[in-house]
């Protein structure tokens, strides 16, 4: 497997920015303005359908604002990457999407988020969180077997039912979707905490997929992983985006560049710029975006 070079990180000089947008084969996307290797998302996503709408969302912790009046769409069929320097509110925005922010004491939220046209504030949080599942930065499998980690999600709250054999198919299904089945199929009762970091994270993805969600939230899923595992997970994300809307928070610009169809750049709680991956990395409108993606700060 040949390794791709990361995109060059350098300040754009004046004459490089307004490179005339040429079009590729199907004439849909302008190519990037600076020489970049081919994107991993070589195939364009299927038709994107709006699943969630964030409408002027503001979140603050105590009286410290974390997200300021952000509006953006989340679509099935594409990967949305939230980028920005640390503390810019990306993770808070992500956690608002399945109402995990409410678990933080002192967090207040205004604005509206809809899922398939329904305000998520009117939904039961537990029901919402099964439709909008999340994978965290730190792989966090439960201290039980691989099988039980996934089966736990399939069962009703604290119930032991359905029985092991009844959920077996669904567990294997979820593991297969997360690309982990081949590695664990012969020993599903292996303790999850003894898997490697990358495997643990894919188990967490399997767990998140087991609920059959409409939206999958990923909070820097690869930041604790090695490049090989990162690559596996990125491939997985691109495979998943047709069936689930994927939102990924990442600190890694190269990663956003490789997999994102849409990119939202946040800075100090504000959404500075939102656009397609090509646009954002090729010809960002805002000077702050330009500076950030060229590595001037972050």
């Amino acid at each position: 497997m040949e390794l791709r070079k990361p995109p060059p990180v350098r300040r754009l000089t004046g004459d490089e920015i307004p490179a005339p947008p040429s079009t590729n084969g199907n004439g849909r996307h302008p190519t990037a303005a600076f020489a970049l290797p081919a994107r991993r998302a070589a195939r364009d996503a299927a038709i994107a359908i709006d699943r969630m709408q964030v409408e002027s969302l503001s979140v603050s912790y105590g009286n410290k604002p974390a997200v300021k009046s952000v509006s953006l769409p989340i679509r099935q069929g594409e990967v949305l990457a939230l980028i920005g320097p640390s503390g810019c509110g990306k993770t808070t925005l992500l956690r608002s999407l399945n109402r995990l922010t409410e678990l933080t004491r002192g967090a207040t939220l205004s604005g509206r988020i809809t899922l398939d046209g329904v305000d998520i504030a009117t939904l039961e949080p537990t029901a919402l969180r099964r439709r909008v599942t999340m994978v965290f930065q730190q792989p966090n499998p439960f201290p039980m077997s691989v099988f039980d980690n996934v089966a736990y999600v399939l069962r009703e709250q604290a119930s032991r039912r359905p029985r092991r054999n009844a959920v077996k198919g669904a567990v294997r299904d979820a593991l297969a979707r997360a690309g982990l089945l081949d590695e664990v199929a012969d020993n599903l009762s292996h303790p999850a905490l003894r898997l490697s970091g990358g495997q643990q994270q894919r188990l967490c993805i399997a767990r998140a997929l087991a609920a059959d969600p409409e939206v999958l939230l990923l909070d820097e899923p690869c930041s604790a992983l090695d490049p090989q595992s990162t690559r596996l997970i990125e491939d997985l994300i691109l495979k998943l985006r047709d069936d689930v809307a994927v939102v990924i928070v990442t600190h890694n610009l190269q990663q956003a560049y490789r997999i994102a169809d849409s990119v939202a750049f946040m800075y100090l709680g504000e959404l500075v710029e939102y656009g397609s991956g090509h646009k954002m990395f090729g010809e960002p409108r805002e000077p702050r975006t330009q500076e950030y993606i060229s590595g001037a700060f972050g």
Binding site: T126, F142, Y152, L193, A208
Partner: protein, 321 residues
């Protein structure tokens, strides 16, 4: 880098690791620490060895299967079957109350704990209980269980509730074991990183389901450790046994109802038996006391080894990232 990098010469050994270069005050401190460490090892070893030798000398199998009997010579006074059974019964009864209640309190304190004021009160109540001398608890028990309405837990004679029974003793002894269960379980719950809880909430599980299916199974080694430590304290307690169980050496059932009669009646445990038979006690049968102490010590040692085993195994199984 080539593989043939020469290793740095080791001609100058580092001296910082040895205490020879330390200041004299540090060296004195180190020496004192060594001395005290060895001293306590010696004390512990002396106790164990003494009772091991005495115990092996006096322990006869028939002591375990015969009951205490009145008499003046060693051959007449029998063994300690009933006290041994009493210890087991009382330990089981106390922990049957202390473990579920303790785990419940620990879960509430660690996972819910609202309102904060109430949590703080509960916390200090448990801490106070841990520091309470058991004779005080026993005294309180004598007041509580002689109340007329609680007569069904012990014996009543001419309208007077005696207040001494396995129920009464177990109820108070469960308070002795409770703080250990609470402390250890809380510790275990707090050692679980918060991202594990979030992972469960993020797939739509409630707090209750998370606690039941993720946190408590993960904290199981701590629950077991706390229960065993609590059990160790329960079976080693004497004051409550004497005041609330009667210290009657043999079981004195309240009536002929098979189990209930026994539990409503009085009895004894190994500690009460030792108390009675100690050289300074009423019975003054030292050899019996040594043998019983040996058995009790073996039980406590077995519990400690069990705790150690559980802790070690859990450390191998669960390593949080």
């Amino acid at each position: 880098m080539t593989t043939a990098t020469p290793t740095p010469a080791r001609s100058t050994p580092k001296r910082s690791g040895s205490s020879a270069s330390w200041r004299w005050s540090d060296r004195l401190g180190l020496g004192l620490a060594w001395f005290l460490g060895l001293l306590f090892c010696a004390i512990a070893a002396a106790i164990v060895i003494y009772f091991l030798v005495e115990g092996i000398r006096y322990l006869r199998p028939n002591l375990l299967v015969t009951n205490p009997a009145p008499g003046v010579s060693e051959s007449q006074t029998g063994g300690f079957l009933d006290p041994l059974l009493g210890t087991l019964i009382l330990g089981a009864m106390s922990m049957a109350v202390a473990v579920p209640v303790g785990v419940g309190i620990a879960v509430w304190l660690s996972e819910f704990g609202r309102p904060t004021g109430l949590a703080r009160v509960a916390e200090s109540a448990v801490e106070m209980l841990a520091g309470e001398p058991s004779v005080v608890l026993a005294l309180f028990g004598t007041i509580l269980f002689t109340v007329g309405q609680l007569g069904f837990l012990s014996q009543t004679s001419h309208g007077i509730v005696l207040g001494q029974s396995f129920f009464a003793a177990a109820a108070m002894l469960s308070l002795v074991g409770l703080p250990m269960v609470v402390a250890s379980t809380r510790e275990g719950l707090q050692a679980i990183p918060s991202h594990v809880r979030e992972a469960s909430y993020a797939v739509g599980k409630t707090k209750i389901a998370t606690t039941r299916r993720v946190l408590l199974p993960a904290a199981r080694p701590s629950v077991i450790t706390g229960s065993m430590l609590g059990l160790g304290r329960v079976i080693g307690d004497t004051a409550i046994v004497l005041l609330l169980l009667g210290g009657t050496l043999t079981f004195q059932a309240a009536n002929s109802t098979p189990l209930l009669g026994l539990l409503r009646g009085t009895g004894d445990t190994l500690t009460g038996y030792i108390y009675y038979n100690a050289p300074t006690g009423d019975g003054n049968q030292p050899s019996k006391a040594y043998a019983a102490a040996f058995v009790l010590m073996l039980m406590v040692l077995a519990i400690n080894v069990g705790v150690d085993f559980v802790v070690r195994r859990s450390q191998r199984a669960v390593r949080w990232s």
